[in-house]
């Protein structure tokens, strides 16, 4: 979001309390949504639940195109539309709900750094596995991404998205990596997260923050999504404190839905 729009939205946001009919939009859960989008969406849902803000999840085929930045998920609150976790955190902060107020400066620096670590390594790895690995792209990503559309639009959209993601991978230097190297990077990232978490319940001891929501979103989705190879999930499973962390958050914030 640009600076001027930022200030404007913050002012508007501060004016009204959180409405009851806030909605979160994402692609269709069963057929269409892909790993990376599902992870981002789950992260936002976890964050909003941690803040105690009610939101209804609505699945729409064209969610990606409705989003102001083109990324999933986005929330529709009152008469504003905000997408991606970063801006959503700022938006809720303007409304007076924040999870990271109790952190001091050094901790906040670490929290932001670790969030970028997850975005830089985990999210990019997810995108790589989905679109740059030929087997996964052909079996899972392209069919799912184009499932709501009929031929030939389905083919065009799927290949266009794949080409776009591959270009981005080349630009950031991931184009030359092999799948093995990507799995190694994921292991490294998980090791870093596991070290940081240690034996604490949440990353910053007693209270969850947006970092916990982001990590939960990505790890839980990877663990529960079926891909052509379960290597990614296996790498995460080797860190037991991350597994118990995911289970803890699932039980605390998502269990009431199923019970």
């Amino acid at each position: 979001m640009s600076l001027a729009a930022d200030a404007f939205v913050s002012q508007l946001a501060a004016a009204e309390p959180w409405p009851e009919n806030a909605t979160l939009y994402q692609p269709l859960k069963e057929d269409q949504i892909l790993l990376s989008d599902c992870a981002s969406s789950l992260a936002v849902q976890a964050y909003l639940r941690m803040c105690g803000l009610p939101v209804e999840v609505v699945c729409r085929v064209n969610a990606e195109y409705m989003s102001p930045s083109g990324k999933i998920p986005f929330i529709h609150v009152g008469n504003q539309v905000v997408s991606e976790l970063g801006p959503i955190v700022q938006f809720t902060k303007a409304k007076g709900h924040s999870l990271s107020d109790g952190l001091d400066d050094v901790q906040r620096a670490e929290m932001k750094a670790y969030m970028e670590l997850v975005n830089n390594m985990l999210l990019t790895a997810e995108l790589y596995v989905q679109w740059c690995d030929d087997a996964t792209a052909a079996e899972i990503s392209r069919p799912r991404y184009s499932s709501p559309y009929s031929w030939p639009l389905s083919n065009i959209l799927a290949y266009q998205k794949q080409w776009e993601v591959r270009r981005k991978m080349n630009a950031i230097g991931w184009g030359g990596k092999t799948l093995e190297q990507v799995y190694e990077d994921v292991s490294q990232c998980c090791q870093a997260l596991s070290q940081r978490l240690g034996t604490q319940p949440y990353f910053f001891n007693k209270q969850p923050t947006e970092l916990d929501a982001l990590v939960f979103g990505h790890l839980f989705t990877i663990l529960t999504t079926r891909l052509t190879s379960s290597e990614l999930a296996e790498r995460i499973k080797s860190y037991s404190n991350l597994l118990s962390f995911c289970r803890r958050i699932e039980q605390s914030y998502f269990e009431d839905k199923s019970s």
């Binding site: 640009s2 600076l3 001027a4 930045s69 083109g70 990324k71 400066d105 050094v106 906040r108 620096a109 670490e110 932001k112 750094a113 670790y114 970028e116 670590l117 975005n119 830089n120 390594m121 270009r167 981005k168 630009a171 950031i172 230097g173 030359g176 490294q188 990232c189 090791q191 870093a192 997260l193 070290q195 940081r196 240690g198």
Partner: protein, 310 residues
Amino acid sequence: MAAPDELFCWEGDWGLPSVSTDCLVVLAYAQFAGAPLKLRKISNPWRSPSGSLPALRTNQKETLSRPSDIIIHLRKQKYNADYDLSAKEGADSLAFISLMEEKLMPALIYTFWIEPKNYVDVTRRWYAEHMPFPLNFFLPGRMQRRQLEKLQLLRGDESLEAGEELEKELYRDAAECMNLLSQRLGSHKFFFGDSPSSLDAYVFGHLAPILKSKLPNGKLQQCLKSLDNLTNFCTNILLLYFPRDNRGKPEGGDFDHVPNKRRKQILSALVALGAMLSYALLTGMVSIQHVQQEAPKMSVRVLGVEILTS
């Protein structure tokens, strides 16, 4: 002992060992870890084994391009600057490196390559002056297009262009990142303990060009200079680990320093002479004719007047 690996990197300027961030990261890490590398400072990326700089050519004739790959290779050779780090510090390193790549690097790309005044006055001029003929005509432009494309892909916006709004947004993110780094560094000499690690190398590589380059649009530099501990951090590393390169150039010196000056002067004089001669011959001001007489004479026609010379 095996022969040392060869590192190809960009030349240095402005008191830095190299002008490129990635090259600086690798150079700093090699100094910190005490790795013996054969340095080849060139200004022609086509002469590097991978076509881009930096590039490390190992003993096994393998070529590595990404700074992270080069550092991993050096670590495997037991040149490890992160040996003393605890597991948590290693995790923090990774996190802060990611933070810099996401928040600081787009601003760096913008300020050196996309911002019109900076690009034309400093970046393009530097690369065009330092690259050999004929690369200096098209390679800086090509590099700029690649950097613009990279920025567009990073931001996910295909229609990205230089503009004040984009500049404000990128510089705001960069300022936040630098503040966070400054808070993490505090009053310590290096980020972890008394000896530098790979995180120090990355921070140095990203911040040193901002600090030392003389750009017309210096907003990023002002922001960095307001953070004393980061400024001291960079100058400290330059003093300790790159003493030979730390000779500052005189103020006006930058624009007069053209490499191979004498050779270029002679070449330009020869080209000018050749051009004038061929113009004279072609238009007929000066022509050489063979005039058939008993004794072969040569006449030279100058400005339409024939002068007989025997």
